[in-house]
Amino acid sequence: MAFARSRQALAIAGVLGLALGVAACGTGNDKKSGNASKPECAAYEKYQGHDGKKVTIYSSIRDIEADRLDQSWKQFEDCTGIDIDHEGSGEFEAQLGVRVDGGNAPDLAFIPQPGLLKRFVDSGKIKEVGADTKGLAEQNFSPDWLKYSTVNGKLYGVPLGSNVKSYVWYSPKTFKEKGWSVPTTWDELIALSDKIAASGTKPWCAGIESGDATGWPATDWIEDVLLRTQGVEVYDQWTTHGIPFNDPKVADAVDKAGTILKNEKYMNGGFGGVKSIATTSFQEAGTPITTGKCAMHRQASFYANQWPQGTKVAEDGDVFAFYFPAVDPAKGKPVLGAGEFVSAFADRPEVQAVQTYLASGEYVNSRAKIGDWLSANKKLDINNVPNPVDKLSVQILQDPKTEFRFDGSDLMPAAVGAGTFWKGMVDWINGKDTTTVLNGIEGSWK
């Protein structure tokens, strides 16, 4: 009986399997064919030999910017015959883990958080960067950048795009009209803020609401101020948990940021009081500058895309950005920024070819020409960068005096950097005191 029963079960399984098998018999793929012989393809000589292969890329880049990505490697695809299949998702950080754990990892991922990258390295999922790519990366990027994707002396990712976060956006037009000048030190910044506040305008505006990433703009504030008050060494200790999160030096920096962020006299131009920072979306946080309700907004270079249509972004235009001034110019010129790293979950030759290509000067210049993008890649020709803020950023990044530091919240374990730190900053803006907030974050860092 039991035998008969299992036979029937098999039969059913057979029917099911057949049906699903039918379902699985789809149509074949159209394959692209390489055009290696064309003259413009000469530059792609070393990537040849993978005609008809497909490489999948997963990232958090969507919509227009995703279209620009596709455009940027179009010629590479045409010449080599490699089909690059890019997919961008707003759920990237969470979904990458699901896909990798589920055995369905993409070939390449653009990971914006070194902390996340390290997690996948630790679990043995990310492949070490191949020798060719590594050589190219070492030529094209400063060690400052490569150390973020290096674990135990081995390179696991190549930097791609970058941004500069140490900017204060302002309106050159308004500044000129009112006779304000761009501050170059922290004290000048505060003096200017007081002056503007006395004139009846709130000098600053800010917003940290950003969907499920709410809080991140405030963490950038803290990091930027810490870099300025304590210098890069303390910053590095802090991001690696060499000093506790609630170290007095950090608390000091948080309080210093608070003299602007939590100052009712300064905040929040165009939106209300300090607490409105928590519910103002970061995308619209700077817009009161265009209406004169706010004078300054500290935000990264990519904020250039957030201005209302028709706003001219230029040194003599409606809005522009100045470098967030140093507290003590003797402590150097620290720059906070971020970017993404190209990491490979597969080591097939065509995947390595694409990874190498993305580290090359040809690629970054091809991408930069399309607009609204920059990279710390040394091969990037500043003349290929159309946007004035991006130009300024490239100058800053390529300036040998610049001490670049990666966004700290991206370096910390995600539970802190994308969890308690964000949430803690929300609470802090919402009225909790510095000590309680920092103690809470420290307690969550295990």
Binding site: Q8, A11, A19, V22, A23, T214, F271, K275, A278, K423
Partner: protein, 348 residues
């Protein structure tokens, strides 16, 4: 710009394969179920005949066959459930006793973490508030509304309006309500709620920041969505009350109030149970609303949201799993109630 229809063909082909698979599986199963019992009964008859001929004792029958048939009826469901839910549930339970790399056993560490961390305890409390309020208010509202519009001329329209939010995704609903709760410190309000407050002479508020009010405001969103479900089910139940019972009561001079408590309520009790049970479980798992509206900030997080963050965003699958297991535990009372219900039903 031209829409390339040819490129879409493989999808339709795939859809067709899917439908063929559907017909094949379901039809095949039913066919099999018709053929197999027939074969069995033929064999039993043969054995019966043989037994009678040889004078041996008659073979026993009936019981195992029923079980076998049931097995086939249940087979697809059980297969899918085992793969899609049972295995994951077991895996989740195991993970909840492991560290964040899922490589070492840590005993109850994740559970002690859950109950010792203030923010997580807060999450648990919030979830309790949700699961107490949503089913209660949504069912009550649905019931009142169903009674109010019963047999009204505009009933179909009125019901559609209440049901409308069900057609909107949770994410969409949360966006809609974020608009309602929006706050502007300077200038015009763009949120309806603050506009009303302002026009009544009050100060605009940042609704989503004010704990514990904000949790209630999020609960409103869930009620807004689910009341339609409650209303439709309960309205249907009210309409199913036999007319003669209602008539008899009316003849006895029963007041509408008494009518409601003595006739309507007992008659729709089973429907009410379905509504409350369904809503309770849906509420326990609520995720998108909180995530879209506040992402759990300002003390509004609930278990499912925290679980997702821990497991997928923070890389703490152990802690996330422990929260999921706590969800399983929370549903036990509902399961026990369901068992009692089932017993009563079998007896009645």
């Amino acid at each position: 710009m031209e829409f390339d229809f040819a490129a879409e063909q493989p999808k339709f082909l795939m859809l067709m394969y899917g439908l063929i698979a559907f017909v094949a599986v379901v039809g095949g199963l039913l066919l099999l179920l018709d053929v197999v019992p027939a074969w069995f009964s033929r064999r039993r008859e043969e054995r019966l005949v043989a037994a009678v001929a040889s004078g041996a004792p008659l073979p026993r029958r009936r019981k195992p066959r029923e079980g076998l048939i049931a097995l086939f009826f249940l087979l697809p469901t059980l297969l899918f459930l085992v793969i899609g839910l049972v295995v994951p549930a077991i895996r989740t339970t195991l993970l909840s006793f492991m560290d964040k790399d899922s490589s070492h056993w840590v005993g109850l560490a994740n559970y002690t973490w859950m109950f010792s961390e203030d923010s997580i305890v807060r999450v648990l409390i919030n979830s309790l508030v949700w699961v107490l309020l949503v089913p209660l208010v949504a069912s009550a509202f649905g019931l009142i509304y169903a009674v109010l519009v019963d047999k009204a001329r505009f009933e179909a329209v009125a019901k559609s309006l209440i049901f409308l939010p069900m057609a909107i995704s949770f994410v969409g609903a949360a966006i809609i309500w974020k608009f309602v709760y929006a706050y502007r410190g300077d200038g015009d309000q763009i949120g309806l709620l603050n506009q009303i407050v302002v026009s009544l002479g009050g100060e605009p508020k940042q609704w989503l920041l004010e704990s514990p009010l904000n949790t209630l405001l999020l609960i409103v969103i869930m009620i807004w969505i689910q009341a339609g479900f409650a209303m439709v089910v309960l309205s249907a139940a009210i309409k199913a009350i036999p007319a003669d019972i209602v008539e008899a009561a009316r003849l006895d001079g029963v007041s509408p109030w008494q009518m409601f408590w003595q006739i309507t309520m007992p008659s729709i009790r089973p429907a009410l149970i379905v509504v409350v049970v369904t809503l309770s479980i849906a509420t326990l798992k609520v995720f998108d609303i909180v995530r879209t509206a506040t992402n759990g900030n300002y003390d509004t997080s609930v278990i499912a949201n925290e679980m997702y963050n821990q497991a997928f965003r923070y890389g703490e699958p152990g802690q996330g799993s422990a929260l999921a297991v706590f969800l399983f535990v929370l549903v036990i009372p509902i399961v026990i109630y369901q068992i009692r219900n089932l017993r009563q039903q079998r007896e009645g």
